[in-house]
């Protein structure tokens, strides 16, 4: 791939107070790729993924997403977030709105799109995540896996160019992990650029085009999954993979 990367990070630095969380991250992600970010807890994975849509502002370095510099005081954050969707570990659905309303809210109130068109898209997305029929339920009435798939549909309703997934299966029961991963896999196969922070190594191995391993705020290993998992070079990476594989 010789085209421009869709996302390019250079020397990204971020600290919370005196604690350095990201320490010089470089990273290239191309359009249509599925990229997994792995690493021990506390390594800065979730912070890293939140820097992509400016939920976590950085102190130094450059994050370019499709030509937009994220680390710019004049950044139009809302314009960026319309293009970069995010799904969280805790789903964070709006509990006072039905499933359909959850999906329709942002296109209606943020993008000011036509209601009929938004509803049609919302129903189609609900079918994509295999939840047709639950339109009028409230999030509290759904299982964790169902809620997470609604959260994915809600984010997709904004028609983003990139989807970020922040440990989206970490809070789920094992049998629900699969249904969510299947949804993400289908999305990736349809050509969506997907970036996942995940502990699902089997998924990373199967679906990812490229894997970054973080430790202590640095990328310690990066490469296509077959290489990274079978032949890690960095001692920290070896140690981590030996523990979890």
């Amino acid at each position: 791939m010789h085209e421009e990367p869709l996302i390019r990070l250079r020397s990204v630095q971020k600290s919370y107070g005196t604690v350095k969380v990201l320490d010089g991250i470089n990273l290239d992600i191309f359009k249509g790729q599925t990229v997994c970010i792995i690493g021990p807890s506390g390594s800065g994975k979730s912070t890293l993924i939140r820097t992509f849509n400016a939920l976590a502002p950085i102190q130094a370095g450059s994050i370019k997403i499709g030509g937009t510099e994220v680390n710019d005081p004049h950044l139009d954050q809302l314009a960026l977030r319309k293009r970069v969707g995010i799904v969280f570990q805790q789903y964070n659905l709006f509990p006072h709105k039905t499933v359909l309303q959850n999906i329709m809210m942002a296109p209606l109130h943020v993008l000011h799109q036509n209601r009929a068109a938004v509803e049609k898209r919302a129903r189609r997305l609900l079918a994509t995540v295999r939840l047709s029929g639950l339109e009028n339920r409230y999030p509290g009435e759904l299982s964790g896996g169902q809620q997470q798939r609604v959260a994915i549909a809600r984010s997709l309703a904004m028609e983003p160019e990139v989807m970020l997934f922040d440990e989206v299966t970490a809070a789920l029961d094992p049998e629900m992990v699969r249904e969510v991963l299947v949804t993400i896999r289908e999305l990736a196969e349809a050509g969506m650029t997907c970036i996942l922070v995940t502990h699902e190594m089997a998924f990373a191995r199967e679906v990812a085009d490229y894997v970054y391993m973080l430790d202590d705020g640095r990328v310690v290993e990066a490469g296509p999954p077959e290489e990274l998992f079978s032949n890690p070079k960095n001692p920290r990476a070896k140690e981590f993979l030996a523990k979890i594989l």
């Binding site: 849509n53 939920l55 809302l78 964070n92 659905l93 709006f94 006072h96 109130h109 943020v110």
Partner: protein, 260 residues
């Protein structure tokens, strides 16, 4: 439905029985031939008219306090410190000073008459009392709203941000609608306190229930025998008005706790 509710319900019924007994005893006394009672019967419409003003003042002050309280709460979470700091100061001052002093200040600082569009209005005392009573309640409503907004998980803010909602839309479409349920019991509580404080306005010459009661007694040569029955009657009026409100409030509070 379950054991949690059974006990309060039985207690509610027991209290209801006691209150009904008490009320019928009082009613019997009220219609008896005792001289003070016939005077009370005669002056009751006048006293009730005063009480109506108390209810009206409390409702108006609560409406004002709710609006101002929401505004203060929103200012309190503003991104600019120049908005946050004065709101915080106002809330602290109004919450931590005596109501009577605030009421005096409002009565005396507020102009006696206003000029608008060429007309002169004299500002009625009850209107100034409404403002004076609304001020401390507004500060407390602000705290209720802020507390309720804080109890919404931070993930809700994050999700809204991730979907490119503006801060204003996040607050009005996502955060506040989730808070109303939690705000209702403490809000009702403050309404009760406010309604019970409306007689403070009597000190400043507003003809509310205490004022009209005093008038009624004065019209009967300030007979000391009237003091107890007349003031008991006023107490009863307040009790009959406030007790159901506080009963509903504690019911709602219990329900909110068990739902969690």
């Amino acid at each position: 439905m379950n054991n949690h509710e059974a006990v309060p319900r039985r207690q509610l019924i027991a209290t209801l029985i006691v209150v009904l007994t008490l009320c019928s005893a009082l009613l019997a006394l009220f219609f008896s031939d005792v001289g003070a009672m016939s005077t009370l019967r005669k002056w009751m419409p006048h006293i009730l008219k005063g009480f109506l003003l108390n209810i009206g003042m409390s409702a108006a002050a609560m409406a004002l306090a709710t609006g101002a309280g929401f505004l203060l709460a929103l200012m309190r979470i503003a991104r600019s410190a120049y908005i946050r700091a004065p709101a915080g100061l106002i809330i602290q001052i109004c919450r931590n000073t005596p109501w009577l002093v605030i009421l005096f200040a409002a009565m005396l600082l507020f102009p006696y008459d206003l000029e608008a569009a060429g007309y002169r209005f004299s500002v009625p005392g009850w209107f100034k009392a409404v403002i004076g009573l609304a001020i401390p309640v507004a500060a407390n409503v602000a705290d209720i709203v802020r507390g309720a907004m804080r109890s919404v998980p931070s993930g809700q803010w994050e999700a809204a941000e991730g979907l490119a909602f503006t801060r204003r839309k996040t607050i009005f479409l996502i955060i506040l609608p989730q808070c109303f349920k939690a705000m209702i019991p403490p809000w009702m509580n403050w309404y009760s306190i406010l309604a019970l404080s409306t007689p403070l306005a009597a000190i400043l010459g507003v003809q509310e229930v205490v004022g009209s009661t005093q008038q009624a007694m004065a019209a009967n040569n300030s007979d000391p025998g009237l003091l107890v029955p007349f003031y008991l009657f006023v107490m009863l009026l307040f009790f009959l008005y406030i007790w159901p409100i506080s009963a509903v409030t504690s019911r709602l509070e219990r329900r909110a706790v068990f739902k969690k």
